[in-house]
């Protein structure tokens, strides 16, 4: 029941917003309904912790109607992804500045997006999953194409085509797997999991899924849409993309690649791990000389999500758990990072790093908040990403020492680009652009509260998530 609510509520509020009747109350309405969804997801989490088999499931048998089962399931991984979504969406909605006067449709699209994302993370049936997967693309496409910056149309079309190509590969794999299921054929995840594919089948299935997810995550060399799209998107769009939507790809690795292609993952450390590893270093190295703050976040993110993919594919349970935890943490941190970017952009109307400077003396509160978020991004101990990265690297270390050592270089490179950026943006003398920089207002501070709370909560007490995940990872 809870699962249905989680899907229906965002959908209803989205439809209501689309009517445009709410006018200038649209933001408030969207914020309240997203907070209600968050509360419901907390209830779901509570129910989950006390459920005997650690799974919340819903099975609507609609055979008579349309020959499809609607199966929604929530295990620990789904729960964490749903929590990430429901936690971040209110933050993203709340972040829009009053004076930007977004139309009701803007919020309607965000709520629609939330519904699609929750659908992706709870679907337990391939057709349903695929529908939600593609549905999630539509709102973000319009958000970018309608409210974006320069070149927004061209870039959003490129983004759309690029990811659809990947999805198509996945669709073929899904249909192929469907034909392998015992008659009467079934699209349910469970029947897929029971297939026990031979190695020769695992390889093409792996390649198809991997292509779809590698484009979505994105992994090197399929990333070229990412920085462009972030840059062209309004900041809320970038947050939705980087914080939640791109996690769909990593979620897909957990859902499909790990259970369906275990032998490829076990034996593949010499084939695809080096490629991902190269991307991890590549993103970090590019971030060092990146003159544009938003693109810097994109490349830093490229490096971070690559590391998560390495953990998930490390064929080691520390790596996988660390990867899932880091999935959550990275979502929080990257949204925090974009929020900081937005605060600067709103006030100075520039995101060229060299145009900024001296903000710390003008805005000490913002400096402190930004510092915490930046430190979480370079995974300082006691922040959320330390535990995740530690476990990922530990897992990698146990499965392939050399990869772990090279991946560990991001610890150093991360410090290089982050501190360089922070210094140029925040320290030194004030520039023309930052001359009248004002500190955070109370409402802006409030938007940061959930982010900072999660940074320390997960950094200091990660065990509550890690223990939840235990059953699911096995």
């Amino acid at each position: 029941m809870i699962l249905v609510l989680l899907l229906i509520l965002p959908l209803l509020s989205s439809l209501l917003l689309f009517t445009g009747k709410l006018g200038k109350h649209s933001k408030t309405f969207a914020l309240v309904s997203s907070l209600v969804v968050f509360a419901i997801s907390l209830v779901a989490g509570y129910a989950f912790t006390f459920a005997d088999n650690k799974i919340l499931a819903l099975n609507l048998n609609l055979k008579q109607l349309m020959d499809v089962d609607i199966i929604l399931k929530m295990d620990a991984v789904s729960l964490i992804m749903v929590m990430l979504t429901t936690l971040l969406v209110p933050v993203i909605i709340a972040s829009t500045a009053k004076k930007e006067r977004r139309k009701p449709n803007f919020y309607a699209l965000i709520m629609l997006m939330q519904m699609a994302l929750i659908g992706v993370f709870t679907a337990s049936e391939m057709i349903l999953f695929y529908i939600f997967w593609e549905l999630a693309l539509i709102p973000i496409f319009f958000i970018t194409a309608l409210w974006g910056g320069d070149n927004r149309k061209k870039i959003s079309v490129k983004f759309l085509i690029y990811t659809v190509v990947g999805s198509f590969a996945m669709l073929i794999a899904i249909l192929y797997l469907y034909t392998l299921t015992p008659a009467p054929h079934s699209f349910s995840f469970d029947s897929f999991y029971q297939l026990k594919l031979p190695y020769s089948v695992q390889v093409p299935v792996f390649l198809a899924f991997f292509l779809a997810f590698a484009i979505k995550i994105p992994l090197f060399p399929f990333h070229s849409w990412q920085a462009e799209t972030y840059n062209a998107s309004p900041v809320q769009g970038s947050m939705l993309l980087a914080g939640i939507m791109l996690k769909m790809g990593l979620y897909g690795i957990i859902r499909f690649i790990l259970p369906l292609c275990p032998d490829v993952v076990a034996g593949g450390s010499l084939i695809f791990l080096p490629l991902i590893l190269f991307g991890v270093i590549y993103g970090a190295v590019i971030a060092i000389s990146q003159p544009n703050l938003k693109k810097l976040i994109a490349f830093a993110s490229l490096s971070h999500v690559g590391l998560i993919a390495l953990g998930l594919l490390s064929n080691n349970h520390y790596g996988v758990e660390g990867g899932i935890l880091q999935l959550f943490s990275h979502g929080v941190n990257v949204v925090g990072f974009f929020l900081c970017y937005y605060m600067i952009m709103k006030r100075t109307h520039t995101d060229k790093i060299s145009d900024l400077g001296g903000i710390a003396s003008a805005a000490p509160k913002f400096a402190a908040v930004f510092m915490i978020i930046v430190l979480a991004n370079i995974s300082l101990p006691l922040t959320n990403s330390f535990v995740g990265e530690f476990l990922i690297l530990l897992g990698l270390f146990q499965s392939n020492m050399i990869i772990a050592i090279i991946a560990g270089l991001t610890i150093i490179l991360g410090a290089v680009y982050i501190l360089k950026m922070y210094q140029k943006v925040m320290y030194g003398a004030k520039s023309v652009a930052t001359e009248n920089f004002t500190d955070l207002t109370l409402s802006e501070m409030l938007v940061f509260v959930p982010i900072i709370a999660m940074i320390f909560l997960v950094g200091i007490f990660p065990s509550f998530i890690l223990q939840l995940l235990q059953g699911a990872v096995k």
């Binding site: 490129k158 085509i161 690029y162 060399p221 990333h223 070229s224 849409w225 462009e228 590549y282 190295v285 590019i286 060092i288 000389s289 990146q290 349970h317 520390y318 758990e321 001296g358 710390a360 003396s361 000490p364 402190a368 430190l375 300082l380 101990p381 006691l382 535990v387 530690f390 476990l391 690297l393 530990l394 270390f397 146990q398 772990a404 050592i405 560990g408 270089l409 610890i411 150093i412 410090a415 290089v416 501190l419 360089k420 210094q423 925040m426 320290y427 030194g428 003398a429 200091i460 007490f461 990660p462 065990s463 890690l466 223990q467 995940l469 235990q470």
Partner: protein, 645 residues
């Protein structure tokens, strides 16, 4: 009766556990209180609050110290599970044994004095509240480092002190010189931290735990020279190299002098930079079983001591001289570790904390008196202008030079005797290294205080002695620099080896495993090793007096001296081989590879599709005849292929 005793006993232990927690809680609260209410808090109040916090901490530390030294037990405190699932369990838990109790006393003791001193030193600074918040934060992380009972929690403190150091070096962030120094410190430390982290992975993979005591117990059963142990200890040593500024990761420390002088005294002389020594002493069992690593430590330590000492002689910035001196002294401590003299290293760490803090605070007093002048060429004759500072500086100088009966003499003596036990050559080398101290310290003393007044000094009428709030803490450090050595007399003079005995339970396991190579020294040799260096010291002092006091200008540097003054061009070498290539690769990746090749390829695919689409569109002519021709040809082609295949 016995039940009562046990109950009492456990009650005391419980109190001790509580105290060890409070030791972390108070500085954290201090940081939060001052940090969150920076704007509201009165500028003169934050210093008092921060100092009171450390004062309470010092009392707590003293109680714990007293407990572990009288009862010879360790206090183990479980806080909560940090990372726990499946078969991995890394708790937050604290261990107070004699080693951590000693470090606690140093951190809180020296920390308190420097906090009080800062009240005077930072009085005029507009960011004073932020300053004291960071200082309390530093103490919190340093105590986390010292008290943690497993390697990963130690790593929290390890990176945490790095963060506080970063924030304090770049405290005056309007000037990018300071920010660059802060960034450099953080990044160089991170290089070491990666080594440390890899060591932790190896430790966990080998021992399935990160608990320091469990690892020591399991490792003690392994054979000496075990390859895994060697790898682990090398990784940990890389971490220590970063934090304790050893070659090749030492160049951040002199730059770190960009921070306020009390920071240099506390973090970059007395406490944080000694964390590497603490880490190795803490892991003594692992290191004793890895002779290869021990030799590497010995070589790196000696090289750093020599290089740091030589560079110090040619510096003209009062804080830089002291910074290179710290590098050199840390190298000396690493030599002691490499020789297997863990208590020697810890003893020198302790006495060094006192006299180096004293020297930095005195330097701060000089800088304060001259209105932020650090160039020693613009000083001279200050002994009459600021007599108290002068007296205290002299005490520090004598103590660090190893002149009896001041503290440095005793701690150096312990290390030198370990060196002579290792071999005469090593002994002579260690003696020579320790003599470098005399050279740079007395040069500094004479140039700053004795040399005829420079024209800047003559022109400066505002030279004033520092306020009492700065002088009293210095005086206490001076007293400690005089008396601290007596806890450990050379074997010639006393049967009781106070310091050695005190720490012996901590290192018992390690010394049981050590392969005994040294031979006891004869009484004559011991006398010789005492008398010869001391006589040389006095000769050197006389020579430097001659050289520096009467010369008006410092000699122009020539030839090899250029190399020394420019710190052997380490920074330039790093710049050429690391910094510039990294920037170059970054630009190549960003411009050529990412923009042109990868993005270009993707766009080409897109444009190609459009292009082909445009051409193919022409086929749709609407001419049915043409369509039929295509159809027929296609069917023929399909049949043809079917036959071939």
């Amino acid at each position: 009766m016995s039940e009562l005793v046990t109950r009492n006993y456990s009650l005391v232990t419980e109190y001790m556990e509580l105290i060890s927690i409070l030791l972390l809680v108070f500085p954290l609260l201090g940081f939060l209180a001052i940090g969150l209410f920076q704007k509201q808090m009165n500028r003169s109040f934050s210093g008092i609050l921060a100092s009171s916090v450390i004062f309470i901490n010092l009392i707590l530390a003293a109680i714990l110290f007293n407990f572990v030294s009288s009862s010879n037990q360790t206090v183990e405190t479980q806080l909560f599970d940090w990372i726990k699932f499946g078969d991995i369990s890394i708790p937050m838990s604290l261990t107070v044994d004699r080693l951590s109790a000693l470090m606690m006393l140093i951190v809180n003791g020296v920390g308190l004095l420097i906090h009080i001193y800062s009240i005077g030193y930072m009085k005029e600074d507009e960011g004073v509240n932020r300053f004291f918040a960071y200082m309390n934060l530093f103490v919190f992380f340093m105590l986390t480092l010292v008290l943690s009972s497993n390697y990963l929690m130690l790593f929290i403190g390890w990176e945490g002190v790095g963060l506080s150091s970063y924030l304090l070096i770049g405290f005056w962030f309007k000037d990018h010189v300071n920010n660059d120094a802060a960034k450099k410190a953080f990044i160089m430390n991170r290089i070491g931290d990666l080594g440390f982290l890899l060591g932790i992975f190896l430790l966990y993979s080998t021992f399935k735990t990160l608990s320091i005591s469990e690892i020591a117990a399991k490792a003690s059963l392994m054979p000496s020279g075990d390859l895994t142990l060697t790898a682990i200890t090398l990784c940990l040593f890389i971490g220590a190299m970063g934090k304790s500024a050893q070659i090749p990761l030492f160049t951040w420390l002199p730059d770190a002098m960009a921070g306020p002088t009390p920071v240099s005294a506390l973090i970059h002389a007395a406490t944080m930079v000694t964390a590497g020594i603490y880490l190795i002493a803490r892991s003594s069992v692992l290191f004793v079983l890895s002779p290869v690593t021990m030799n590497i430590i010995l070589v790196i330590g000696a090289a750093t001591a020599i290089v740091g000492g030589i560079i110090a002689i040619y510096q003209n910035d009062i804080k830089k001289v002291l910074a290179y001196s710290t590098v050199s002294q840390l190298g000396f401590m690493f030599m002691a570790l490499g020789l297997g003299s863990f208590s020697g290293a810890m003893f020198h760490l302790t006495t060094h904390a006192f006299f180096k803090a004293l020297l930095f605070l005195s330097a701060g007093s000089v800088i304060h008196a001259l209105g932020n002048e650090q160039d020693i060429r613009k000083m001279g004759g200050l002994r009459k202008k600021i007599p108290f500072t002068f007296a205290l500086f002299i005490i520090g100088t004598i103590a660090i030079s190893g002149i009896p009966p001041f503290a440095g003499f005793f701690s150096k003596e312990l290390i030198l005797s370990a060196a002579y036990e290792h071999g005469t050559g090593m002994g002579i080398l260690a003696t020579a290294i320790s003599l470098l101290t005399t050279l740079y310290m007395f040069r500094l003393l004479f140039v700053v205080f004795y040399k005829p007044e420079s024209k800047e000094i003559k022109a400066n009428h505002h030279i004033h002695e520092s306020p009492k709030v700065m002088l009293y803490p210095m005086a206490i450090l001076a007293i400690l620099s005089v008396v601290a050595g007596f806890v450990q007399m050379p074997k010639l003079f006393s049967e009781t080896q106070g310091f050695d005995t005190f720490l012996s339970p901590v290192f018992a396991k390690a010394s049981g495993l050590a392969t005994v190579s040294g031979q006891a020294l004869s009484v004559q040799t011991e006398w010789l090793t005492l008398i010869i260096p001391i006589s040389i010291i006095f000769v050197l002092i006389f020579l430097s007096y001659k050289r520096f006091v009467n010369n008006k200008e410092l000699a122009v540097q020539t030839g090899i001296q250029h190399v020394f003054a420019n710190k052997f061009y380490f920074d330039e070498i790093y710049d050429f081989f690391l910094v510039k290539p990294l920037a170059f690769i970054s630009n190549v990746f960003r411009g050529l590879l990412d923009q042109t090749i990868i993005n270009g390829f993707v766009n080409a695919v897109g444009n190609g599709t459009l292009f082909v689409g445009k051409r193919l569109r022409r086929l749709q002519t609407g001419n049915v005849g043409l369509y039929l021709i295509f159809m027929v040809f296609s069917i023929i082609a399909i049949l043809f292929f079917n036959i071939i295949l």
